[in-house]
């Protein structure tokens, strides 16, 4: 049984690990995976059809804990202990819930001190006792007790009293004063772990299409050195097609992984007559998992060739590999009255809306299965790739965008050289 320390408005955890409000989903998953022998049977609950309408929930079924992540920013919003019999809890080092100690109203009072009177919710038939960043819900012992605590009975005064012996049914840790209005806080410094995250990623474009990315980066130091002070740095960096490796490394730091592309299946579609010739070296990706960005470098020139932005929607094959990239992509819209107009496509745009904005259908999609071997299928089904203005949008079946690939302009030499070069 887990023995966890409760820190209101902040976290739930022990010496080794801690679920902190504002923690990115991948980090919570990493903690769970690291302790897979202790924490088993974790459910990932999400809405397949409208993944933004519900929080994303990690339900630790064996431990009575639910971690609720904001559907948009995928940071930890609420920690709920939904079954106090499955976990030991302490506050300031002292247990208030264990096999020996029942989490009664008296125990809570003793451990946490005084607060506002409890609020009765008749729909749930629960009393809520609120502290800042911490709420307890009390279950009433029997049905018969309930009516006399109806809120309209003596206008709440009677509801001050939570009956003796009532035990906590659920506990919530959240940010701010009210569970209803809580939002996932900014990522705490302790969650950076030397990583760099992107607050937003703007696609820069010129006349023909994307030219590069402008990233608003968040970084916090750790360990000795100049950045040791506990302070978050926010800064903007830009990378462009044609940048060298060292350019990118200077701007964004080193990637988490480097992936060497094996053969390129999509070469079959290349208009180049030389596509059948196997290339001698392979292009390689810089994987920036915490930015949600991949950068493809050309093997010969070591220059940036493509950017791939990932939205990390649950229900996608690559879910939980990348942190969500909050991108903004200006799309050129052709309209009668105004030309040169752009509309913005974001991480949360749906593809059918974008097509409406464009005012014309996009040509035939490519079906992407992502089942990478014969003995392997992708339970989430295939996705569809649409090409548009030197960008490829990978669209899931729920019309959300799974990833966007930006590729550079066709080499200016191909059509210009014959005409223009001296």
């Amino acid at each position: 049984m887990l023995d966890l320390e409760v820190v209101p408005e902040r976290s739930l955890g022990n010496e080794q690990w801690e679920f902190t409000l504002g923690m990115p989903l991948a980090q919570a998953v990493a903690i769970l995976q690291k302790h897979c022998r202790i924490i088993k049977n974790v459910q990932v609950l999400y809405s397949e059809q409208s993944p933004l309408s519900h929080d994303l929930i990690l339900n630790l079924t064996q431990d009575g804990i639910k971690l609720m992540f904001d559907a948009f920013n995928q940071r930890l919003k609420v920690i709920e202990v939904c079954d106090l019999t499955k976990v030991k809890l302490k506050y300031c080092g002292v247990h208030f819930n264990s096999q020996a100690i029942a989490p009664t109203i008296e125990q809570i009072d003793q451990s946490f001190g005084a607060t506002h009177p409890g609020v009765y919710n008749s729909a749930e038939q629960l009393f809520h006792l609120n502290f800042r960043g911490l709420s307890f819900s009390f279950q009433l012992d029997s049905w018969t007790e309930a009516p006399k605590y109806e809120p309209n009975f003596a206008h709440g005064l009677a509801s001050l009293q939570i009956p003796h012996g009532a035990t906590v049914k659920r506990m919530y840790i959240y940010s701010g004063n009210s569970l209803q209005d809580t939002k996932a806080p900014m990522m705490p410094l302790s969650c950076f772990l030397g990583n760099v995250y992107a607050e937003s990623v703007d696609v820069l474009r010129d006349g023909t299409g994307p030219a590069g990315l402008r990233l608003r980066l968040l970084a916090a130091g750790c360990g000795p050195g100049l950045l040791a002070d506990a302070k978050m740095r926010v800064f903007e960096r830009s990378v462009y097609f044609g940048d060298s490796c060292q350019d990118v490394l200077s701007m964004l730091g080193s990637p988490h992984k480097v992936f060497y592309k094996s053969e390129d299946k999509m070469k079959i579609h290349s208009p180049s007559p030389h596509k059948q010739v196997p290339s001698k070296c392979n292009d390689y990706f810089f994987n920036y998992f915490t930015l949600g960005v991949d950068i493809l470098f050309d093997a010969n020139t070591h220059k940036v060739k493509k950017f791939v932005l990932h939205t990390n929607y649950p229900g996608h094959y690559n879910f939980n590999i990348y942190h969500r990239c909050e991108f903004k992509i200006p799309l050129a819209i052709k309209k009668e009255n105004a030309d040169g107009q752009t509309e913005t496509c974001t991480t949360y745009s749906k593809w059918d809306n974008i097509q409406e904005l464009l005012g014309h259908p996009v040509e035939k999609p490519v079906v992407l299965h992502r089942s990478s071997s014969p003995n392997n299928t992708n339970p989430f089904g295939s996705t569809f790739c649409f090409g548009l203005q030197r960008m490829i949008f990978e669209v899931m079946q729920n019309n959300h965008i799974a990833s966007v690939t930006l590729y550079g302009p066709p080499r200016p030499g191909s059509h210009l050289r014959t005409a223009e070069l001296p």
């Binding site: 690990w17 079924t61 772990l193 030397g194 060292q246 208009p271 079906v367 295939s382 590729y407």
Partner: protein, 928 residues
């Protein structure tokens, strides 16, 4: 043909486009033998008779392979279709003579062409400056003069300055000198990239803007090296690495050199103690040398230079990498109180002074050597975008050359960064295999024509990476200060410089992601696979050697040193024992010389694993060496991990050395001179990049189409072009995806009302339709056993997520369930559908059978679910799908036919017009 070649002089002083053209000569092991014989017959009479040679050679002082516009694959449009049209960039060679210099180009055809030749006194360093990067704000002041040649001559343009104190920039187009930069101290070397020109002086570095040649920044804190390179630096596309003379803790990056890990190779290295001892004396020598030379030199314009606080002793072996773009203007100062702007990394690399360093082609790796030359270090620089102290420097390899002292003069990488060649002043080139990501070079990594990923398919599917990581993190990483090293000199900076590992272990605990904080990779000690020597004994006999003795190339090739290398003749102290050589990798050009005689070799048909290695020596002879790595022949069994050995053989040679009879070849050049054409092409490309109109172009070039043309673009011919740009696999996935379980189960929440789970758009159900798998159940039984033993995940899902269900059963109906009213997140009714994986199955057939199996199971369980009371099944419509799992593989073998077939497109509710949106399937064979 072959015969004609042999009799023909390889040198044809035909002046087709100005310069001399030299054809390659075939070289085989046999001709090597012949050349020795020739030597005996040839040289001895000369020595005695003293008859004047018909072909006298000029004395070569230095040789170098140059990167300029002519062979710039990224900006020279000629090479954009590289590797498919055979349009390889030429090799560009610069040869410095005791009088003047020479430039050669060797295109893929193999016909070496002389491009430039002057005799105007000794030249210490020269560079052909690449066309600069410019933009709308920054224009190139010298655009119409380019290409420019920067030279450092003994007599500068002014004539009054001391020798070698002046950089003159000559236009190869017009022949005039366009700029001259004076210094007060001698110049050692010149480096350049498309952003800056770097002038290397004693203990100082000065950088100039490549467009204007105005001063950008300068460094005055370099640690001097006794030579051959007095102030070694490495210039990448953006970074500049130099040897710093002190270590500043607050800027120090994590990692750096790992005490050479003496224990690990005591077996091969006989005497670590001896090494240390000789190192000690070496240090002493350098320090005394230093104190003598220190006060010399002030930079060109007497800037008030921050005093280097001479009281503190200089620390050898420190490397600082700066970002030339962000380092700012003026003096670059790495000190306690300076901020870290522009400092990329700052770390200890050696205990001895650094002697030579080089970035690889991508710029992620830095190879450094010290003055001893026993071991070379390969570092991977993992940057942080903000601070050098957050940067990590991983010491990936120690390349062990040998026990004797040797000075390194040249380092080069193969293009894919799997081979490093380090050449010493003895004229020996040592060929080492490395991986850009570290780890043991082996058959798997070096016998394939392309770079393979770090984890093999096997390692990945077995999840070995995670295990490995866990192990290393438990050991607290490898690079804890080696206690054994404390026997080294007390003043030794290395172990004092090492970061304490402990402070990082806390961070690595829950942090598998961050590469800068992950445990340092294990250090590999790599021995050279081949050592290619120059004929040093012959060379020392006479400066003027016979015409075709060295034309044929004389060298001995030694097999890798599993055994201790035979004692080498220690070079004499005189310059005679020193041989300037330079090496570079390139596509083979020897077919021209060999196509008739060597037909039996099938190397034209098979894909070459390693590019050819070109080595030019101080005799002016360029030799192409074929390199063929192969599994160690003594290995009992060849597997992926079998170590390598290497066969090298000379294939062709070019005699490029100039004779006094040759005319000079000086600018101004014709407009069709290769260097000028290349400069034009690259400048043109730069204009396009900057979105500017190139001068002299007939009309405004609209690179960027208007929005109109854009919007209508999709009807054009380029339509299908984007298809080839689709990226399917962008990363090495974990061996089990999160949704494959077993720890995690995926459940979807449906809005209320949608109760028909089977008809959900999930392709799972459809692809497992009854018509789908008419596969024979071949090994169903064994598979079933396997299944049972493997299956950890419960066969059916638990009743869903309604904790503490003490509420009355009557209160909940099948569909409307409020999970969480309080937080307001589940205000709608939900149904849950489980989408999750199970343990991986074996291969295709078994998979099919198990699919059948699950489908059966699914029906049964559905029936079960119907029969069960709603109290057990919280959500009446909830059902469970047992997915048979999946190992995903590295290779994206997407030609699979099983499983997902694009029929689920029907389920895709797209608002597209139907005729427009016919899906283009990646699996045309997928339909049964």
């Amino acid at each position: 043909m072959n015969e004609a070649m042999a009799t023909d002089s390889p040198r044809r002083p035909s002046r087709c486009t100005g310069g001399v053209v030299v054809r390659p000569q075939a070289v085989t092991e046999q001709s090597y033998m012949e050349s020795v014989v020739t030597f005996l017959q040839d040289v001895v009479p000369q020595a005695y008779s003293g008859t004047p040679l018909t072909e006298e050679k000029e004395k070569i002082v230095w040789v170098r392979f140059e990167n300029a516009d002519l062979n710039d694959t990224s900006r020279n449009l000629e090479f954009h279709e590289i590797h498919s049209t055979g349009n390889e960039p030429p090799l560009l060679i610069m040869i410095g003579y005791s009088d003047g210099m020479q430039v050669w180009s060797i295109p893929i055809s193999g016909e070496a062409q002389e491009l430039f030749s002057v005799r105007h006194g000794p030249i210490r360093a020269a560079r052909i400056l690449p066309a600069p990067q410019f933009g709308a704000q920054k224009c190139d002041n010298f655009a119409e003069k380019r290409p420019l040649l920067g030279v450092c001559k003994s007599i500068g343009s002014s004539g009054t300055s001391p020798p070698y104190c002046c950089v003159d920039l000559y236009s190869l187009r017009t022949g005039e000198m366009v700029k001259s930069i004076q210094f007060k101290t001698p110049i050692y070397d010149l480096h350049c990239n498309k952003r800056i020109l770097v002038v290397v002086l004693q203990e100082k570095i000065a950088a100039f803007d490549s467009c204007t040649f105005t001063k950008k920044f300068f460094v005055t804190s370099c640690y001097p090296c006794p030579g051959p390179n007095m102030n070694p630096i490495a210039l990448g596309s953006r970074w500049l690495a130099y040897a710093e003379n002190k270590l500043i803790r607050c800027h120090q990056s994590r990692g750096g050199a790992c005490g050479d890990n003496i224990q690990s190779y005591t077996a091969t290295v006989i005497s670590a103690a001896k090494t240390l001892k000789s190192g000690l004396t070496m240090v002493g020598k350098v320090v005394t040398q230093l104190t003598g030379t220190l006060p010399s030199g002030v930079t060109e314009d007497d800037v008030a230079i921050h005093s280097n606080s001479r009281r503190s002793p200089l620390v050898p072996g420190i490397i600082t990498v700066i970002d030339t773009e962000t380092v700012g203007e003026g003096q670059v100062l790495v000190s306690e109180d300076s901020d870290s702007d522009g400092i990329v990394a700052h770390f200890p690399a050696h205990e001895k002074p650094v002697c030579c360093m080089a970035f690889n082609t991508s710029g992620m790796l830095l190879v450094t050597t010290d003055t001893l030359g026993h071991d070379f270090h390969v570092f991977q620089i993992l940057t942080h975008p903000w601070s050098s102290s957050q940067c990590a420097v991983h010491h990936l390899y120690t390349l062990h050359r040998g026990e004797t002292e040797a000075k390194v003069q040249d380092i080069c990488f193969s293009h894919d960064c799997r081979w490093v060649v380090v050449s010493t002043l003895r004229g020996t080139s040592h060929v080492f295999p490395i991986n850009p990501y570290g780890g043991q070079p082996c058959v798997r990594t070096h016998m394939s024509p392309r770079v393979v990923n770090r984890m093999s398919r096997f390692q990945k599917s077995a999840g070995l990476e995670e295990i490995e990581q866990e192990l290393t993190s438990k050991q607290g990483g490898r690079c804890s200060p080696v206690p054994g090293l404390s026997s080294s000199p007390s003043g030794s900076p290395l172990h004092g410089k090492l970061n304490s590992q402990d402070s990082y272990n806390n961070f690595t605990n829950n942090n598998p992601g961050n590469p800068r904080l992950s445990p340092l990779p294990s250090l590999m000690v790599v021995m050279p696979l081949a050592q290619i020597k120059q004929p040093m004994t012959l060379g020392t006999i006479t400066k003027r050697t016979g015409p075709y003795l060295f034309g044929a190339g004389c060298f001995s090739i030694k097999a890798p040193c599993k055994v201790k290398p035979p004692p080498q003749i220690s070079p004499s102290k005189s310059m005679g024992g020193e041989f300037c050589v330079a090496a570079i990798f390139g596509t083979s050009r020897s077919w021209f010389a060999n196509n008739a005689g060597l037909k039996r070799e099938k190397d034209q048909s098979k894909q070459v694993v390693v590019e050819s290695l070109y080595i030019i020596s101080c005799y002016g002879t360029l030799v192409e060496h074929m390199m063929e790595p192969r599994p160690l022949s003594t290995a009992p069994k060849i597997s992926d991990d079998t170590p390598l050995e290497m066969m090298t053989s000379p294939r062709a040679s070019w005699t490029l050395v100039r004779t006094p009879q040759w005319n000079e070849l000086q600018p101004p050049f014709n407009a069709n001179h290769p260097l000028l054409l290349a400069a034009d092409a690259v400048q043109y490309y730069q204009f396009l990049l900057a979105g500017l109109v190139p001068p002299g172009s007939p009309g405004p070039i609209t690179r960027h189409g208007s929005y109109d043309s854009l919007a209508s673009d999709h009807s054009g011919q380029e339509d299908e072009e984007w298809l080839s740009q689709v990226e399917i696999v962008t990363h090495t996935g974990p061996h089990r995806r999160l949704w494959m379980g077993p720890q995690f189960q995926f459940k979807t929440i449906h809005p209320s009302g949608q109760t028909t789970v089977i008809s959900s758009s999930s392709s799972v159900l459809q692809s497992h339709g009854p018509s789908d798998t008419p596969q024979p159940l071949l090994d169903f039984d064994t598979d079933d056993l396997d299944l049972n033993s493997l299956r950890i995940q419960p066969v059916r899902s638990d009743p869903v997520s309604m904790p503490g269900s003490s509420r009355p059963v009557s209160d909940r109906r099948g569909v409307s369930t409020v999970i969480d009213a309080a937080s307001g997140t589940f205000d709608r009714s939900v149904t849950l559908l489980e989408v999750c994986g199970s343990w991986p199955e074996g291969f295709g057939l078994r998979h099919m059978s198990s699919m059948e199996h699950t489908e059966e199971g699914l029906r049964e369980r559905l029936a079960d679910a119907m029969a069960e009371s709603p109290s057990r099944d919280v959500v009446g419509s909830g059902t469970e799908l047992q997915r048979e799992g999946s190992i995903e593989t590295l290779s994206n073998s997407s030609g699979s036919t099983s499983g997902s077939i694009p029929r689920n497109f029907d389920g895709y509710r797209s608002p597209l017009p139907t005729n427009e949106s016919q899906p283009l399937s990646l699996f045309p064979t997928g339909f049964p």
